[in-house]
């Protein structure tokens, strides 16, 4: 495979994703962009004000540990370890990390996501993919292409940073000098694999729902997968066939289930997504400048119901009280930051 990872597109260090002294975000990942697209008020509560819930932290911790353990396994395998050795190493590290993790198993989140379900899912995952047809791509430096934090910049930036655009034949083109700060697109690629002689980005997902058509249909079109397809092309200097969604269903009574689906993006689809992005980011800057992020009240019931639905259902003058009673305002370093490396 004639490909190489562009190390200059990989992330190092942590900065604020906002322009200094403003609420204008210049570094975006699929999570923050997804929130903006879903509901600007949701984006405000999470990204601007940093409200988080304990239940949310259970999902986040579970996801982090699941990803980290698979990453450790993939790295050990790529370094030459046999399945059992790699599995014991990865599970051992996981056991050390989660030893004092004790989510409340009486809550809906904790019932499905706790030490026991995590270990069960990981053991089943490793045993299921003991002979994995998707092989981890090995970078030029000999290390495994897993958990690649990427960032790349657009050739335009927030207007507040001098990133003016003009439109020629409907296409946006950067106007004037290079902006002081361009927009950055950031994220993490779980794994780059070769499968059937083609390169794919692989993304791990965990879910409580059945891994059928309904589950996989959500990834096409999909903000995150389109960004990953775009990033894959930028980070790997080779044609990228698409993204493999490596899905795991957490089951309490039956054996955990695993299924993989592939999603593709044409060059035209990627161009369209980038063109739309200009409008979304201009809109985000307008909200930040006005200090107002409107509520999209058609999205409140999406994805099993927004976590802020109860807050938004209250009259504006009492919402702060409900926010404070149901959520914690996280310190800056704990808030979601697209520039943070995993």
């Amino acid at each position: 495979m004639d490909a190489q990872i562009d190390e200059s597109k990989l992330t190092t260090g942590v900065l604020s994703p906002f322009l200094p002294g403003t609420r204008i975000q210049y570094a975006w990942d699929s999570t923050s962009l997804g929130m903006l697209k879903t509901c600007p008020r949701l984006y405000q509560y999470v990204m601007i004000e940093g409200w988080g819930s304990r239940e949310e932290s259970v999902h986040l911790r579970f996801g982090i540990e699941y990803h980290k353990t698979i990453e450790d396994y993939d790295k050990a395998k790529a370094a030459g370890a046999k399945h059992t050795r790699a599995m014991n190493e990865a599970i051992g590290k996981c056991l050390i990390r989660i030893w004092d993790w004790d989510p409340d198993t009486d809550t809906p989140a904790g019932k499905y996501k706790n030490q026991n379900t995590l270990l069960s899912l990981l053991v089943d995952y490793f045993d299921t993919f003991i002979s994995d047809a998707a092989e981890t791509y090995i970078k030029a430096d000999g290390t495994a292409a897993v958990e690649l934090s990427f960032r790349f910049e657009l050739d335009w930036g927030p207007q507040a940073a001098g990133g003016e655009l003009e439109y020629v034949d409907g296409q946006a083109v950067a106007e004037g000098p290079t902006p002081a700060q361009s927009y950055l697109l950031c994220g993490h690629l779980d794994r780059v694999v070769t499968f059937n002689d083609s390169l794919f980005v692989m993304d791990h997902k965990t879910s409580k729902t059945t891994l059928g058509d309904y589950f996989f249909d959500q990834f096409h079109p999909n903000n995150q997968m389109t960004l990953y397809a775009l990033a894959g092309k930028m980070v790997i200097h080779a044609p990228l066939a698409g993204v493999i969604i490596d899905a795991a269903q957490i089951l309490l009574e039956k054996p955990n289930a695993f299924k993989r689906g592939m999603t593709y993006r044409t060059k035209e689809q990627l161009d369209e997504w980038l063109a739309d992005l200009e409008y979304w980011l201009r809109q985000a800057e307008a909200y930040a400048t006005a200090g107002h992020w409107p509520m999209n009240d058609t999205a409140c019931d999406k994805f099993g119901g927004c976590r802020f639905r109860e807050v938004c259902s209250k009259s504006p003058q009492v919402r702060k009280i409900y926010l404070k009673s149901n959520f914690d305002q996280l310190p800056m370093e704990e808030r979601w930051n697209p520039l943070k490396e995993r």
Partner: protein, 88 residues
């Protein structure tokens, strides 16, 4: 210091793995193997249609754990990934 493992999964999970790894590499390896064996055993029970017991009520005898540790069989290999993959 004995490398004997406790008799229930709750007791097993109560062991501090970091401390154990510093104390005895062999005991730490055995501990990991026992945890993996427990979850394989649970999966086998689920596959057999047995309702999995909750974490707080599951009792794994010392003998069973030892047996699992000593007689670990290779994991059942399911269908290769290539056959289960599809285009969305």
């Amino acid at each position: 210091m004995s490398d004997e493992l406790p008799s229930t999964i709750d007791e097993l999970m109560a062991i501090d793995p970091l401390e154990l790894s510093k104390r005895s590499e062999a005991a730490y390896e055995k501990y990991i193997t026992a945890v993996i064996a427990y979850h394989r055993n649970q999966r086998a029970a689920r596959e057999a249609g047995t309702k999995a017991k909750s974490k707080t009520t599951t009792h794994v005898t010392n003998e069973a754990l030892k047996s699992l540790v000593n007689k670990l069989k290779p994991a059942a290999v399911k269908s290769p990934v290539g056959t289960g993959i599809r285009r969305i």
